[in-house]
């Protein structure tokens, strides 16, 4: 009744192609941004930032990155953990080597380095396709983690191979290290997330994005109509790895403050991000958010319900968490096979017609 485009006239192509064609959506978007930037920072505490917002934002960035590669360009990747490690270690080396430069640049440069590494490991995608391509990215995953574990230069020769984020600030506000205020940590992750999401949205709806989708849907056909597969695939790997690298840098520097290649960036991380993308919805910006939210928030929520409210023993609660998350994934699939994003789209369709279903 309220949620419809009637009366919302488009008079230019520009209007017609906007991200949120419905007025209510646009309003919702601006309100969400306003709340995220101007309301929440005043209320967050350590618990909210460290257990919910920081991991959610950072995983959302990683999921956006992987979604570009897997969802838009159709290249399966199981190397996300390894690429996050590149971002983290690059950021660490930069932070230690150039303490006076703003951390934002360190994170961006770390993303750039990851992009280069991603392109190198993406080269086999020209020849290997489908599930088989996963082996190239798996090789990246295991080789990179092994490398960061083995070459002492990466962790500045510390005894155990752990890296620790020193204190750094942006405009005089501390954003890494133990003395970071909750809101500062929240804001830096949010700024990066919004930037990345904005970039992802605009890339995917432009020519680059259409080339990616052409390659995804059928690469030979795309090649025939003039898409250069080399450029399209490599740009997808580059952009995707850039985002994933940023996620890795933030994950280490802002969120955890200490990391170790094998433990923090192992194969389970690659799978986790892939699950987020698949469960959220392949080829959807909203899906990346929804998937990250589901995989980050659901366990915390279940834990608080089962242990905090119902007082179950922790191990039974942890096992039930897995059972419920697994059960929900299967139920969602049976109800709506194309991920949370599609569920959301269908809800919107229904809302548009409500209360008159025909």
């Amino acid at each position: 009744m309220f949620y419809r485009e009637a009366g919302d006239f488009k008079t230019s192509y520009r209007d017609d192609n906007q991200t949120f064609p419905i007025r209510l959506d646009r309003a919702g978007y601006w309100i969400a941004l306003f709340v995220a930037f101007c309301v929440i920072p005043f209320f967050v505490n350590d618990y909210w930032v460290n257990s919910i917002f920081a991991p959610f934002f950072i995983y959302a960035i990683a999921a956006l990155g992987l979604n570009i590669l897997t969802g838009y360009a159709g290249q399966v990747s199981l190397g996300t953990g390894g690429f996050m490690a590149v971002g983290a270690y690059a950021c660490y080396k930069l932070m230690v080597a150039f303490p006076d430069i703003n951390i934002v640049f360190h994170v961006l440069i770390a993303g750039g380095i990851t992009a280069a590494v991603g392109v190198a490991f993406g080269l086999p995608s020209l020849r290997i396709k489908g599930f088989y391509l996963a082996v190239a990215t798996l090789a990246a995953q295991f080789f990179l983690v092994w490398l960061f574990n083995k070459v002492a230069w990466f962790y500045n020769y510390s005894a155990s191979g752990q890296i620790n984020a020193p204190e750094r600030s942006v405009f005089g506000i501390v954003v890494t290290g133990p003395n970071t205020e909750a809101w500062a940590k929240y804001m830096i992750c949010l700024v990066f997330l919004v930037g990345v999401a904005w970039m992802a949205r605009n890339l995917t709806r432009g020519m680059t994005g259409r080339k990616w989708m052409g390659i995804r849907d059928m690469d030979i056909a795309a090649e025939i109509i003039g898409v250069n597969p080399l450029m399209a695939k490599m740009s997808a790997f580059a952009v995707s790895s850039f985002f994933v690298g940023i996620a890795g840098a933030l994950f280490f520097a802002v969120y955890l403050g200490a990391a170790e290649a094998g433990e923090s960036f192992g194969i389970t991380k690659s799978f986790l991000v892939l699950f987020m993308v698949i469960i959220g919805g392949l080829g959807s910006i909203f899906g990346s958010f929804a998937g990250a939210a589901f995989m980050v928030l659901m366990p915390v929520l279940l834990k608080n319900v089962l242990v905090g409210t119902m007082g179950w023993p922790t191990e039974i609660a942890a096992e039930l968490e897995f059972i419920i998350v697994g059960g929900l994934i299967v139920i969602f699939l049976i109800l709506e096979p194309h991920g949370l994003a599609q569920l959301w789209r269908l809800t919107k369709e229904k809302l548009r017609l409500w209360p008159f279903p025909h």
Binding site: P124, R127, I128, K129, F131, Y132, A134, V135, A136, L138, A139, Q141, F142, F143, V145, W146, N149, K150, M218, I220, A221, I224, I267, F275, I278, I279, L282, W312, P313, E315, I316, A318, E319, L320, E321, F322, I323, I324, V325, G326, G327, L328, I329, V330, L333, I334, P337, H338
Partner: protein, 328 residues
């Protein structure tokens, strides 16, 4: 003979043995992929569940004991009997058939005709479910798996090779048993699929789902059948790996070892899984032996994947995969 060459031979033999174990896990993936086009992410968890069920039944553990105790305040843990190994294996096998039936009835049946990625996602759901369900049912402590398989150095090989070369080779008895069992299993599978009615139906389904349906083959039955076989393969793999290390949730990680094997051998080929397993097994052991010490060791972590990658660059469909024909 120079010492290094003897060492390399020993390493190669052991690599072959390790390869057989990898192949055993990969086999479970191939069966399901061939019959239904599903990449079964939960195969590793099937291994854990099968092995836990076997040990649980064998030692007379009460399922869900912890949950029961929490809800009713009781203190139960064991029935107080032990079950003969053979019987326990049969019960565990039956449990795997039941799991296959449940998966077909409650998950796959609702997803017929969906794209591969959706079915893959469903197996992710199963993975999560079983990751919680298996320890909830049998507890998360290390369970000792003992079905009476021989373990330790094979004396005959040790003495024979010592007499020949002056250096005794080490081959683990368990590995020899595993190799024999894997050979039997593969032969049985091949015979089954070549000479029985169900086997032919299975191959028909693997070739073309709708054509198979149209000649009256029950897709549902075939799916239950193939998941049961995969469950049974998981049980065998669980016994082999579990005898070595005890059974616990990290046994699921052996599935990761199967990934490069699959990619090398091709997702759809049973001989591919075996030969891929052997190549990976030998390759990674030899590489660790020859190059490992120079670069600091632990190269097994990535070598299998790089090896598979190199092969794939020359043969993108895997060694035995069906040729990919692309048309517009």
């Amino acid at each position: 003979m120079p010492e290094q060459l003897l060492f390399a031979m020993e390493v190669t033999l052991n690599g072959l043995m390790a390869g057989v174990l990898y192949a055993l896990v990969a086999l479970g993936f191939v069966l399901i992929f061939k019959a239904s086009g599903i990449f079964n992410f939960a195969q590793g968890m099937l291994v854990v569940f099968a092995a836990m069920t076997l040990v649980g039944v064998q030692t007379g553990q009460i399922p869900f004991a912890h949950l029961i105790n929490t809800i009713f305040g009781t203190k139960v843990h064991h029935f107080g009997w032990t079950v003969p190994t053979i019987l326990a294996i049969i019960v565990a096998g039956a449990a795997m058939v039941f799991v296959a039936w449940v998966i077909e009835k409650y998950i796959l049946q609702h997803l017929i005709g969906q794209p591969d990625i959706i079915l893959f996602m469903a197996t992710i759901g199963m993975w999560y479910f079983m990751h919680g369900f298996a320890p909830l049912m049998w507890g998360s402590e290390v369970m000792k798996l003992d079905v009476g398989l021989a373990q330790g150095i094979n004396e005959t090989i040790d003495t024979t090779t010592y007499n020949w070369f002056g250096y005794g080779f080490f081959i683990d008895n368990l590995d020899i048993v595993a190799a024999i069992v894997a050979a039997l299993l593969v032969t049985a599978l091949v015979l089954f699929s070549q000479y029985t009615k169900q086997g032919r139906a299975l191959r028909a389904v693997a070739d073309d789902h709708s054509a198979a349906l149209s000649v009256g083959i029950s897709l549902r039955f075939i799916w239950v059948l193939v998941w049961s076989i995969a469950g049974f393969v998981a049980l065998v793999a669980g016994i082999m790996w579990g005898s070595k290390s005890g059974v616990q949730i990290s046994l699921a990680e052996v599935a990761l070892k199967a990934l490069p094997v699959l990619m090398l051998g091709g997702f759809t080929s049973i001989p591919g899984a075996i030969i891929g397993g052997l190549i990976i097994g030998v390759g990674e052991q030899l590489f660790e032996f020859a190059v490992g010490p120079l670069v600091g060791g632990a190269t097994q972590a990535w070598f299998a994947y790089v090896l598979a990658l190199v092969f794939l660059i020359f043969r993108p469909q895997g060694l035995f995969g069906e040729k990919i024909i692309e048309r517009v």
